[in-house]
Symmetry: none
């Protein structure tokens, strides 16, 4: 289907604004009650919904609870069962590291090694993030490169860190075995390459292990490294390739910026802390003329759901509602309001429930759905769909898709 969309996509001056209210779908606390969206007072969303098209989307499939990665990829039109981001790459992306073709990202754990290099604690006593950063600083100084390959080391959290190997000459393979023995009382394993393209990577990993242990030999607890989960960089076609869109990401948190960069979006600078909604609006306004697709991410609708805080989630929805007129003032040709998954406060976690989708453009049929809520969305003209349908619908509503066949 992506090939078909690519063949039909055409460039126009119209602009698409995709607002992702992270985890916005919810549940009533008691059966038969109102969800967070239905409880929220949202005059601006309501007004938009009156003349918009509504529907529901399942991001991955029936009953499947999407992680943020698969949920967003689906919204960007990439089937998340086909476009899989490996754990190493996702960790790197999650802390905002940009990956390029031929790079390899590796998930590492700090460990405690005893006499004879025997693993005593696979998590090095769960060091603080500060301790982690201090150790990462030592390793960066000790291992800036190995044999001409650039080595980048990043703190993830506690005992977790990420290494990115970048070979300016040729690409690196990622098909190698783990260093982590997944047991204590034994030595770390030696990484083995499973194919020719990964031989150099195995050597890099083993050399890294040796040099890291040398650098950390005076540390009492954090004195070893274990690796598990190697990823080369997923080769996703860019949104420019597929849709012919010059696309920009407006997000505050590293994970979402990383996902957007994987599909070739420009990641715009956003001023402010945490969700920084004002900063995001300012970034949108400042860059409005430079792009024809904007991904605008709102995080707190998810965080409050994850916290199990129904009332706060309602409040964050209302805060977004108050900001909506500023987005509409830019007069996007197409605006979509959607989520990357549901995060009902009742479950305090992501869930499998579909998310409501709203698409506003000049080319809508009458729709009896009167609000952007789960219940109203069920009545909408867009029906119940896969998340990968969203981008083709936005492209169509922006008149950016040619006719298929004569």
């Amino acid at each position: 289907m992506l090939d078909t969309i690519k063949a039909l996509a055409k460039k126009t001056d119209s602009k698409i604004l995709m607002v992702v209210l992270d985890g916005v779908g919810g549940l009533p606390l008691e059966l038969g009650g109102d969800t967070e969206l239905a409880t929220a007072v949202t005059p601006n969303l309501d007004a938009l919904a009156k003349n918009a098209q509504l529907g529901q989307v399942e991001l991955v499939g029936a009953g499947i609870t999407p992680g943020s990665g698969p949920g967003h990829l689906s919204l960007f039109g990439y089937d998340p069962l086909k476009f899989v981001v490996g754990r190493g790459a996702l960790s790197a992306v999650g802390i905002g590291v940009k990956l390029g073709a031929g790079d390899v990202a590796v998930r590492g754990n700090f460990a405690t090694l005893g006499a004879g290099r025997v693993v005593e604690d696979r998590r090095a006593g769960r060091p603080s993030d500060e301790k982690n950063a201090e150790i990462v600083g030592q390793l960066r100084a000790a291992i800036p490169e190995i044999g001409g390959v650039k080595v980048e080391i990043y703190t993830e959290s506690e005992h977790r860190f990420v290494v990115v190997f970048r070979n300016p000459g040729a690409g690196l393979g990622a098909n190698i075995s783990d260093v982590d023995p997944q047991a204590t009382g034994v030595q770390p394993l030696t990484a083995q390459a499973h194919d020719d393209a990964s031989r150099q990577t195995a050597d890099l990993v083993n050399t890294f292990v040796t040099r890291a242990e040398e650098a950390l030999k005076d540390e009492p607890q954090v004195n070893g490294v274990l690796f598990r989960g190697y990823s080369d960089v997923p080769h996703f076609p860019s949104m420019d390739d597929i849709y012919g869109l010059k696309a920009a990401c407006i997000a505050s948190y590293p994970m979402y910026k990383g996902l957007a960069s994987l599909v070739g979006m420009d990641v715009l600078d956003v001023e402010g802390h945490e969700d920084a909604l004002d900063g995001k609006v300012a970034a949108l306004q400042a860059n409005w003329d430079k792009y024809d697709f904007f991904y605008f991410h709102v995080k707190k609708t998810d965080s409050t759901g994850e916290d199990g805080d129904f009332h706060e989630k309602v409040h964050k929805i209302e805060i977004f509602d108050a900001l909506l007129p500023q987005l509409l003032a830019l007069k996007p040709d197409v605006i979509a309001i959607v989520g990357d998954h549901s995060t009902p406060s009742k479950l305090a976690s992501h869930s499998w429930h579909p998310v409501p989708l709203l698409i506003h453009s000049e080319y809508a049929r009458k729709d009896v759905a009167a609000r952007y809520t789960e219940e109203e969305a069920q009545k909408g003209t867009l029906g119940l769909r896969r998340g990968t349908d969203v981008m083709p619908l936005l492209m169509a509503n922006a008149l950016k898709l040619q006719k298929y066949g004569a």
Copy 2:
């Protein structure tokens, strides 16, 4: 998708009860009228529907009328276009014969042979089931085994019978040509193996034909056998493999027990005759603690539809409704009410119309659908779906699926 579900499935203490009202979907007798479900007085189903999620399912695809096999496989999560039960195996399963890996099941027709072994009647004058059983008894006595391979012979109905070859040493292939010439006035064909693994099976079949004709040589009409449709046993992953479910089947009729055993369910004993609803409830109660998934089959909703008896189908639905409180008293975490296909009395046969689906769990959004009927189900939050979506939805509602991706 099954691989994805399998990777995400986790074991929990929650219990799922799937009630299959066979052929429950119907049609109004006159356009614009009420269906059997809408006509039935169903206070218990109505009460359940009030706080449940409703939708419609197509078991195989748009416009496709499912047989019982594909309809049930779809409900169990097996795409019926990919998981095909061969005709021989389905016949064996349909009469309740358990098949194991390496067994071969063959469909046979009794025929009338004239002088020179020429086929005079490919159906042997359509003998009665009693005559069929008598002939089968003669053949069982005459051919208990061939060269160490166990031969089992079963009556199906009229001129139809089933042979199962079980080779205790090695598996048997089923890739051989027909004995049935599909014409009269010619001799039966000699079975030919199409691959090495099926050579022994071809010999078995040809020897069976010779010995059967010898055994039946004094029969005036039922004196020959024709074979068509050989199946080795479909290797379906079990529901335990895929979902991690300890699954039990509560059904009375052989076909449904056979289908359940193909997907690895334990088939529980049910006391009583025909549909034996009281026996089924007793079996459910007695085994409630031993399983985490129950398939509970109700047959008469289909039989009455097949009979074209609208009034009786309504009555059978009401009988199930009266029994429903005993099922709910067990407090399943998730209960689904669904059909394996529609059997409208108006058509007196299976039909392609979607069947209403009801899912009750603690994790439901408000649903305007107020009854378990075809018309109300159209308004439900679950939308119109494939049958293979049902199991992932039940697993999700039972909180038995982990998140996909991070």
